[in-house]
């Protein structure tokens, strides 16, 4: 009983501490993710208070955190939105993919982490944080801006790209050959198509399995099915993350919206644990050697995202200020970069240095992103020669 008391006190202290950090983060206008990571790193060194007896819980909770992060990413867009997004923004989406995955892959190759490391880092630097971006755009009152749909459609494309990328990554991390990798690409393409068709044509049946007018029943079915699918996917050597993500895409309509509302607080709780655990498992002594690369990646991939946003907004006929705003909005990286790094490190197929680089990189980008979105206008005004805007 005494042990339970200690565990409760430790857990309570951790959650309360995270709450304080989160409040602080939004007050100074950045995402709390970097602070959670730093909190994890601080505890991990055994520096402050070594935590005993809560590892079983935190380990499982961080797994649930990943499942919920990806389930909600899948729920975020309806299948219809995904398909229209793909049709309308495929060119900008491809530009985004090439420009932003290349720097990560190149740095990984330079560091001698091989093709698997390159594939992982490509994902880390590619995927923007839709969570941070939506929050920042909302806070800055830019949701009604004309460039915002452009930003959102790029995020939709990234969502789809994730659906393809994650199964491939998990297959490669599982140690398949080149042929096996190609098979994984084929299989994941087929699976994504099936899930999209199911979501478009039979989404209401999937939703009906889970939906319930009673919030309690609904929550239990939702969590139950998410964990079941995640567990089965894990057993089939596709990661739990991929399974829950696809389930999220398959649930549609009003069920998806209710599910999002219901799960958001849970996701925030478990995702916070996930970031802390990731920080705990990152060896801080490995950060200084890769810090230079993290800074280089941060600068380069901030520029490539701004370029992506600029290009995408220009093709929609948006003025220069709007293009700059769209670019700056996309800079933030966060939860999904950490999820990708976590998958890779967890599989043991990449070196621990990758976790250190990904941590340092996300620390920089999760802070830099919201800041960039805030300061873009004054900076752009200095840079962009103010030609009279044509009224369209």
């Amino acid at each position: 009983m005494h042990d339970t008391a200690i565990s409760l006190i430790e857990l309570g202290a951790v959650f309360f501490g995270l709450g304080v950090l989160g409040r602080l983060a939004w007050k100074i206008g950045i995402s709390p993710i970097p602070l959670y990571l730093i909190g994890g790193i601080a505890f991990g060194t055994g520096g402050l208070i070594p935590l005993h007896g809560i590892e079983p819980f935190t380990h499982l909770a961080s797994e649930i955190g990943v499942v919920l992060l990806l389930l909600l990413l899948g729920l975020e867009y309806s299948a219809g939105e995904l398909v229209t997004g793909l049709r309308r923004s495929w060119l900008a989406g491809l530009v985004d993919l090439v420009l932003n995955s290349a720097p990560g892959a190149i740095v990984a190759l330079l560091l001698g982490w091989g093709p698997i490391g390159a594939l992982t880092m490509a994902g880390v630097t590619y995927i923007s944080s839709s969570g941070i971006i939506a929050k920042v755009l909302g806070d800055l009152g830019r949701l009604g801006n004309r460039e915002t749909p452009v930003v959102l459609s790029i995020l939709v494309f990234e969502d789809l790209a994730m659906a393809l990328y994650l199964p491939i990554l998990t297959a490669v991390l599982g140690g398949v050959s080149l042929l096996g990798g190609l098979t994984a690409v084929g299989v994941s393409l087929i699976v994504i198509s099936i899930v999209l068709v199911v979501a478009l044509k039979f989404g209401r049946y999937v939703s009906a399995l889970i939906d319930s007018p009673d919030p309690e029943v609904f929550l239990l079915r939702l969590l139950g099915s998410a964990l079941l699918v995640a567990g089965i996917a894990s057993e089939l050597q596709v990661s739990a993350a991929v399974g829950s993500f696809l389930l999220g895409i398959a649930i549609s309509g009003s069920t998806a919206q209710n599910a999002t509302r219901m799960l958001e607080p849970l996701r925030d709780l478990f995702a916070a644990v996930f970031f802390v655990v990731f920080g705990l498992n990152t060896d801080p002594s490995q950060i200084p050697p890769v810090l230079g690369f993290a800074l280089l990646l941060a600068v380069v991939t901030a520029i490539t995202k701004i370029g992506t946003g600029w290009f995408a907004a220009r093709s929609q006929g948006i003025g220069k200020m709007g293009r700059a705003r769209a670019g700056a909005a996309l800079v933030a990286r966060g939860e999904f970069s950490i999820v990708i790094a976590g998958l890779a490190v967890g599989s043991g197929a990449v070196s621990g240095e990758l976790a250190a680089l990904a941590t340092a990189y996300v620390l920089l980008m999760a802070i830099l992103g919201p800041v960039a979105a805030r300061v873009v206008e004054p900076v752009a005004r200095l840079l962009v020669s103010r030609k009279p805007q044509t009224q369209s």
Binding site: T84, G141, G144, R146, P149, L152, V156
Partner: protein, 160 residues
């Protein structure tokens, strides 16, 4: 009017149009049922200068504030074709004998041959109110009739 509908994936839908004065005015309908009124800036039409979150009820009120004059204007327009018939908006003031009483009690048609076609209350239009409709102070009563009838109607609402 040229209304542009833009889906905001993951958030909702935005509908806007450009006014003659060069502003982009629109409404974002969020998935969770919230509304947001947006007005674009003047020097950068891509940027929102002001936005206000609205509940469904507030949206309704705003729509009626903008729509009520339209309704009266439309009624006036229809009546103008009939010579000698006008539309007036008559207030039910504080201290009116009909504050808190039913519309039927005024016996408006019988006494003035003018008809009550609508009541505007706090920005909400109640078209074709029934005889059991209860007036309260602050209502605007939209009445159609001859000039004499309308004057008489005004007297009734003021003094009974």
């Amino acid at each position: 009017m040229d209304v542009t509908v833009t889906p905001l994936p993951g958030l909702g839908t935005q509908q806007d149009f450009v006014t003659r004065s060069g502003h982009r005015i629109g409404v974002i309908t969020y998935r969770d049922g919230r509304f947001e009124l947006i007005v674009s800036g003047h020097d950068d039409p891509d940027k929102v200068a002001a936005s206000a979150g609205l509940t469904a009820e507030e949206t309704n009120t705003l729509a009626n504030l903008l729509g009520a004059p339209q309704l009266v204007a439309r009624l006036s327009e229809q009546q103008r074709e009939v010579a000698g018939i006008n539309t007036w908006q008559l207030p039910v003031n504080q201290g009116s004998p009909y504050d808190g009483r039913a519309l039927g009690d005024t016996e408006m048609r019988t006494r003035t041959s003018a008809s009550i076609v609508a009541v505007v209350r706090e920005g909400t239009v109640h078209p074709s109110p029934r005889p059991d409709f209860e007036f309260s102070a602050g209502d605007l009563v939209v009445v159609v009739g001859t000039a004499d009838g309308l004057r008489a109607a005004g007297e009734i609402l003021e003094r009974g």
